[in-house]
């Protein structure tokens, strides 16, 4: 984890309200793993005040040693509106990489199961990053079969032009593109049988439903939670997520944001992307 100023290399629209930000900085702050995130201070003004968390959607080390990272983001409120207006060449204050990501390729390999990657809403970025990392580690070639990516959207117009890997199943609520129905409809009705290993990122209700399904089918599952954050480094106890039973809490920023299926009371999460 380091704090540094990064320069904006690109900030293009992928769909209405969806953008891809590409940042570049000198030197290494550590190679992030899918599910890990960074926090941005989008302006030096005092409103909006707090840094905003965004998951890595891509990462490259350039030949000159500089780092290049992408995030996919949705324009939602004050901070993302300001971010959307920033032009190439501008600098933003970055803190990262932060948090614990999805299980790494070695662990998945050892499990021998078939990766099932599920994205909803702003969970798309980290899931695409995970797909790329598994691809790079040749996990699709593992015994149990290639990774399957399932991503849900409202309709075809809301699908960002983000470069989906071949074979990605896109679901739209209205059927205007790909499978007609939610990600959950797809998983519960259409998924070919197999030794699935779930990794999901998306809105809280989706995560809660996915966790329930995973429990019912006895799939291992890693889910990427969201919660309001102040510090992002474990100091403020602000990003608490209740563990089942509710007697204690885990911190989204350092204990997560990726948690096991039974680590968190997903139904009570409150936040969600």
């Amino acid at each position: 984890m380091l704090q540094f100023d990064a320069q904006i290399l690109g900030n293009r629209e992928l769909a209405p309200g969806w953008k891809e930000l590409v940042l570049r900085w000198n030197g290494a702050a550590g190679h992030p793993h899918a599910g890990e995130f960074l926090t941005l201070r989008v302006s030096s003004a005092l409103d909006p005040l707090l840094r905003r968390p965004f998951a890595f959607a891509s990462f490259h080390e350039d030949p000159d040693g500089a780092s290049r990272a992408g995030i996919l983001y949705q324009v939602r409120g004050k901070a993302t509106r300001i971010l959307a207006d920033l032009g190439t060449g501008a600098f933003v204050d970055v803190l990262g990489p932060l948090g614990r990501g999805f299980p790494d390729a070695a662990q998945l390999e050892a499990e021998g199961s078939r990766p099932l990657l599920v994205a909803g809403g702003v969970g798309l970025g980290p899931i695409l990053f995970l797909a790329a990392q598994l691809e790079a580690a040749r996990i699709p070639a593992s015994a149990a079969g290639p990774a399957l990516i399932v991503a849900g959207f409202r309709n075809s117009a809301a699908i960002p032009r983000a470069g989906f890997p071949a074979g990605t199943v896109t679901c739209t609520d209205d059927g205007s593109s790909g499978y007609r129905g939610t990600v959950l409809d797809y998983l519960s009705r259409e998924l070919p049988p197999g030794n699935w290993r779930l990794m999901a990122c998306g809105p809280a209700p989706m995560l809660a439903a996915v966790a329930t399904l995973a429990r019912a089918r006895s799939w291992e599952a890693s889910l990427c939670a969201e919660q309001w954050m102040a510090c992002g480094v474990g100091a403020c106890m602000g990003c608490a997520l209740p563990v089942p039973g509710g007697a204690s809490f885990l911190r989204a920023c350092v204990d997560g944001p990726v948690f096991g299926r039974d680590d968190i009371d997903w139904g009570k999460e409150g936040g969600g992307r």
Binding site: W228, A235, A240, F249, K268
Partner: protein, 324 residues
Amino acid sequence: MNIDPRVRIGPLVLSNPVGVASGTFGYGAEYEGLMDLGRLGAIYTKAVTLEARAGNDAPRIVETPAGMLNSIGLANPGLEAFVARKLPELRRLSTSVIVNVAGSSEADYLRVVEALEEAAGPWSPRSGAGGATGQEGATGVDGYEINVSCPNVAHGGLAFGTDPAQVERLTRSLRAATRRALIVKLTPNVADIVPIAKAAEAGGADAISCINTLVGMVIDTRTKRPALARGTGGLSGPAIRPVGVACVWKASRAVGIPVIGLGGIMCADDALQYLLAGASAVQVGTATFVDPRAALKTLEGILAWMEGEGLAGIGDIGALFGRS
């Protein structure tokens, strides 16, 4: 001009006036990779309570205009785990550590302080007389900040802090239990901070710190519920800075002991407002979330300003007030 940035708080000499506020810096380790903790004037720890506390339900924070609300609820591992796991780490630090103490009753506070006295042993300053710039002989606890002002717990907390008689009695009983620096942290949620400040002084406090957060609420008009699970929370950040400066200005004129100012300090100019208003030292809280280096930048800015003004000591800043 040689600037001496040290500040005396009772028996303790802080290496400089800029500390990090309770609840915004954990127990120090979280920010260790991002900065040299030894350059901080003091670390005020997250509150320690007798028993472990899970804290309030989530969500616990929400942003507000130029501020934030929190209802952490004094989540902390409790006295025993603090002594076992955090104290050894705090001993290693080469900066003064002030342990923030909270409780639901006078007896709670007293037991925490007594237990910490026992665990940490008799106080000796970190390296050299009263200095805080080395770790030799460090006991891990250089003082206590008594939180009688937390708006986020059902019992105790704010109720204590608004009653001068209770503040005086609590302070007196803790004073009897420790020779370490004893700081009482006051709430701005009162009609007049002066009687409370005087009560802390009368009880034997070495200093007061103010302000804690203001009680506030945000309602999510989409869900029609408060944004925080607990309803109300504590308002912090630059939004409340004018309230903090006014409290420090009033309190520092009413008591003879040092006043430690905090509330919304984002930069050196903000900290200088507190020091001009009569504070002897300051704490940086919410700003650390916004910029982890805020406290260190604040310190650098204060020293540069002092240089420009030709001042030798932190105490000289307050003396300039109203004399332009």
